[in-house]
Symmetry: C2
DNA sequence: TAATATATTTCAGACCACTTAACAAATAGA
DNA sequence: TCTATTTGTTAAGTGGTCTGAAATATATTA
């Protein structure tokens, strides 16, 4: 097997195992918190990016502004995001995560971290160091590529 | 920063970046194919495991058999899974992926592989080898932990 | 200022995923 | 055999998420 083939196969294997677990975990997380995928994506957008308006959320989700507005309203009712008037343009709203919203999302992230922790508990310290270095490299790559990759 | 702290922080960072990308990609994949999260999970179950019945899918999704039955029916209509009678127990059904279902799912997996490929294109060959070895280790861990982890 | 554009909301209608309850068919066990 | 259990489907109802169209309020521009 060529090096290139092996490389692709390894990525493929990891993608499969990670996706398989991810889907289950996502579903559990969403069910436990009564959230839809669109809602989780909205929380993520607000967690990472600066406050934004209703349209931008809709664009990112690929839905109409009407759908976005309704979706956001449910998150506001749940107390996960705050919807205030944008002082520099009173037509627009300013959406931000509440502390509760931040906590909920971080619990989701944390559950994944714990899964990976579990995965690596039985590794020797030397291998752990290697694995952790590799993940740091990947994280760094992803950060450089930004949202486009 | 202690080694343990650094370890956790690295897992945390990778989890965040991966989840953020995953959610967007999941949504696009599902929208493009008109699939729900539950449906994708069902396809995944059949892709990895042996053929199974309706109840097992429901159990894994955490829904009633009624919900499972309806969900599966839609996948059958879409031509993604095949639902036949289980010859050894005629109460039960035997669910298997169709070729079309397999193809659709593999496209989803492939899109993730491509993302990771993109991430690693700019790495030096030496670093790539390290990263790939680490992912192989993680895949192996996940396989050993199986579905429980 | 008047017309137009932008940001968001509301409403009606559709579809999907879920629930419980009632049902049919096949199997398992006393 | 007769009863209980298991497996799956169907029906009715709830609620979420989407769409398109219409409405409101503010901002921009001619």
């Amino acid at each position: 097997m060529s090096s290139e083939t092996q490389f692709n196969q390894t990525l493929q294997d990891w993608s499969e195992v990670y996706m398989r677990h991810s889907f289950r975990e996502f579903k559990q997380f969403m069910d436990a918190n009564g959230l839809s995928l669109s809602q989780v994506m909205t929380l993520f957008r607000l967690y990472h990016g600066s406050p934004c308006g209703v349209s931008e959320i809709g664009t990112q989700l690929g839905v109409t502004n009407a759908a976005s507005s309704q979706l956001i309203d449910r998150l506001v009712v749940l107390g996960l995001i705050e919807r205030t008037e944008n002082p520099s343009d009173r037509r627009a709203k300013q959406l931000t995560l509440t502390r509760k919203g931040k906590t909920v999302l971080e619990q989701g992230i944390d559950s994944r971290r714990k899964w990976m922790e579990t995965l690596t508990t039985q590794l020797t310290p030397e291998v752990r160091v290697t694995v952790i270095a590799a993940l740091a490299v990947l994280t760094n790559c992803a950060a450089r590529f930004g949202d486009e990759a």
